[in-house]
Structure formats: C-alpha cells, structure tokens
C-alpha cells in the first residue's frame, strides 16, 4: 500500500484498506452507532480511565472507537518509525504532532461531542482512525458481521444515529419500552 519501506517490513501481507469493510452478505463493519437524542435530561459520570488507540504495523488499532466528552484518549506508537498524529477535529481544537518511536503516549481530551473526529498520519496517508466523541455511554462500533449492541437504555424515545467514514450519517427514531430487547437496522449504500 504505502511508500515507506520501513512500514512494508512490518506486516507479512499487504495492509487491508479498512475504509469500507463489507462482509460477504453486505454486512458493514466499523460503523459508529450512538444515541443522538433522547438522553438530554440525564447526567452520566465521565469515566477517568483512558481509552487507548495505538499505531502498530503502520496502521491505527482500532480503526473506529468511541470516547466520552472529557474522557482522556491515549495515543501510542508501537512502531519503529515516526508517525504524526493529526486530529482533524472541527468542533474541538485540531492538533498535529509527531510521535517518534518510543515517544511518550499522547493524551488528548475532547470537550465537545463530535462524531467522528478523524485521526490521521500524513506521513503514511493510509493510516487513520475515527473517534466518536459522545456525551453518554450508549455507543457501539459495528463488528465484522455488522452487528452492534448499544447496551441497556432506559425506556423512552430516542434518536439513534449511525455514522460511517465513507457512507455518512443515518438517523432513526425509536421508542424503548420496558418490555425487552429492541432491534434497529441501518443500511448504507454508495451514492
């Protein structure tokens, strides 16, 4: 994929393009799903424990993740090459810093909700990860089989949103009753 010979040595096979991972039956992975509306009245304690993302084999792991407003995000470099961590945030302040091999972990805190904030390495253009910054703990990233689990929402009316780095945003309204599990399905298509 890339043009950095040092990166090519780090993985046996060619790197996978993670921007649109679609299963055999059309299941879409790496969609960030979250509760967009309906929890305005609630207050949730901000976790102090940091969320981790690392650069390994010249790729970001994981490729999509969620973090709470105010919760620290720790970015590490496990590679023998330098990367620059370039946060293209719009509502939060952007940043762009080189992280040399073995350099200290970089800690970032986002103070406003923003879905999704891309983190990129400009030196290795293919490297990116997407951070969903949200205000409540009800979010998930779709798995390889396209499934996701938002956890136990209290009964009420909600707007659930799903955002994919390529295919964009979709929203659906649902009502949760005390009765039990609810299923919601999003389908994306390339324009």
């Amino acid at each position: 994929m890339g043009s950095d010979p040092k990166c090519e040595g780090l993985h046996a096979e060619k790197l996978l393009d993670e921007s649109a991972l679609v299963g055999a039956g059309g299941e879409l992975a790496n969609v960030f799903v979250y509760v967009r509306k309906g929890l305005e009245g609630w207050k949730f304690a901000t976790p102090t424990e940091a969320v981790q993302v690392t650069q390994e084999g010249c790729t970001y792991v994981p490729h999509v993740l969620g973090v709470r407003v105010g919760q620290p995000l720790e970015i590490g470099n496990g590679d023998p090459v330098s990367h620059n961590v370039h946060g293209y945030a719009k509502k939060n302040p952007g940043f762009n810093q080189t992280q040399a091999p073995g350099a200290a972990v970089m800690t970032k805190v986002f103070n406003r909700s923003e879905v999704l904030v891309p983190l990129k390495c400009d030196i290795h253009g293919w490297m990116s990860t997407f951070v969903g910054v949200v205000e409540n703990p009800f979010f998930a990233v779709s798995a390889v089989d396209g499934s996701f689990d938002l956890g136990q929402l209290p009964p009420g009316d909600y707007q659930i949103a799903a955002r994919h780095e390529i295919f964009g945003l979709q929203k659906q309204d649902i009502t949760i009753t005390a009765a039990g599990a609810q299923t919601i399905e999003f389908s994306f298509s390339e324009e």
Binding site: N96, D122, I123, W126
Partner: protein, 272 residues
C-alpha cells in the same frame, strides 16, 4: 621609522586572501557535481562549469590583488600618486561593467538559451507522457493506460486509499488509468514529459541526477521534460517545503528499456 611603527601594521594579513583564493578555487575544483544522467543535464552542467571557470578565475584574481595590496601597502610606507583623475576612475568602472556583462550574458544567452530550448521547448510527438501529483507526503504517479489519454479527475472524489487522485468513473478515459504510489516508470533514451499537479500545497519535483526541478502548484498544471540516458533507478525528492514530512517525500524514477516498460505497464491493473 618611528612614524611607521606608531600605528599597528600587519602586512601578513594579505596571506588570508591568498589562502581564501586557493581554498575556494580548490574546493570547487574537487568536482562536487554528481554525474549527470539526462540529455539536457549536460547543458546545465556546461553552464555551471562555465560559471565556475569564469567567476573562479575572477575571484582568484581579486584575492591575489587584494592580498598583494595588503602586503605591499600594509607596511606603512608613505605613498604618492594615490589621487587619480576622474577619468581613470571612470575607466576602472567601465572595465568591470563590460567584463561582468559579457561573462554573465554569455552564460544566460550563449550558453543558456540552447539548454533553455531543450528544457522548455516543444516536446516531440512521440514523447512519453506520465503524470506526477504531489500531495503530503508522497508522489502519486498516473499512467494514461492503453488509450494514452489521462481521464478526468475531480478533487471532490479524492480519498486517500480508495481513489487517491479522484478519478471520475463516468469518464471512459479514466477507466484504464493506472495509479501507482512513488514509482515513475519511464523509457530510456526517449523524451519523457511529466505532467505535474499538486493536491494540497506546493511541492517540487526534483531528480537531481537528471538536473530536473519543477514546482508543482495546486491549481496549476506544470510540465517538465527530460531524456534519461541510462537504465537504472534514480531518486526523486521534493524540493519545496511542504510540511512536516517534506524530508521524506521520497520516490523513485525507474528508467528501463521500452520492452520492459511495456511489460511492466501491461501487468498493472487500472485503478478503477
């Protein structure tokens, strides 16, 4: 004698200029230019050598004269005849003006124009065409494919991994375009015309051994042309500050025979 010692004297200071002249001329004389590998490059090196020769000689002469003056007049002896007429002073102004105009315009016009024609002149019809696009921090190389036509691009469609140049699907000419990162394959002994563009900031396409350097400006299409004379792999670098990865915007130009170039091209999949 007492007069001449009442002020500090140091005629030996003149040696500084002799040494400077020798070191500078000797230093350049070592020949730092790497061996040139393109046709027009010989012309560029010719201009450089011409300038080295002429200005080197003048600089050396100047050093010798200044050094000699300092040694001779540094001893503190009274000198007569220092005041000369306006006419003499004017003549000694006209001489350097004529010398420098001659030397410099011979460089630009007599030596330079033929090379200028090679570098910027009309390319022959059978020139080989390839497109190189600069972006932070790599060179994207596009080959027109069998139809020989570069298809349409739309920057709104650019995606790092999915469509790095933003090729437009609906354009048939774009269907067979080949996009490769960092590797420019070109034929030996035939003129290559490189179409240069940039996606984000200014870059500069330089292949030092070919004596090629051309900025790529976003919003413009620039061209540079050269004829490689030797099969081999030559380093491609960026010569205009383009951001924190400027220093590692490395690529390579692979010069090969027509035969193996054709083979290589036929093995490539179109991007779309």
């Amino acid at each position: 004698m007492s007069e001449t010692t009442s002020h500090p004297r140091s005629p030996g200071f003149g040696i500084v200029f002799f040494l400077l002249g020798i070191v500078v001329v000797g230093g350049f004389g070592v020949g730092w230019l790497p061996e040139v590998k393109s046709a027009h490059g010989h012309g560029i090196d010719g201009v450089i050598r011409y300038l080295l020769g002429t200005t080197g000689a003048l600089f050396f002469l100047g050093c010798i004269v200044l050094g000699y003056f300092v040694m001779k007049y540094g001893r503190g002896e009274a000198q007569s005849g220092a005041i000369v007429s306006n006419r003499t002073q004017a003549i000694w102004a006209i001489v350097p003006v004529l010398v420098m105009c001659a030397i410099s315009e011979v460089g630009v016009l007599v030596m330079g124009l033929p090379v200028f024609a090679e570098v910027y002149g009309e390319a022959p019809d059978d020139a080989y065409e390839v497109e190189v696009v600069g972006k932070q921090f790599e060179w994207l190389v596009r080959y027109p494919g069998p139809d020989g036509v570069f298809g349409e691009v739309d920057h709104a469609k650019v995606h790092e991994t999915r469509n790095p140049l933003g090729l437009v699907k609906s354009d048939p000419a774009a269907q067979d375009d080949i996009v490769v990162r960092g590797k420019v394959h070109i034929p030996v002994d035939r003129m290559t015309v490189v179409r240069l563009r940039a996606l984000d900031v200014i870059h500069s396409f330089t292949v030092p051994l070919f004596r090629v350097k051309q900025d790529t400006l976003p919003g413009y299409t620039a061209y540079t042309q050269f004829t490689p004379e030797e099969v081999g792999i030559f380093e491609l670098a960026c010569a205009e500050l383009c951001g924190l990865g400027h220093y590692r915007m490395q690529g390579s130009v692979i010069v090969e025979s027509e035969e193996s170039l054709k083979n290589w091209l036929s093995e490539q999949e179109p991007w779309l």
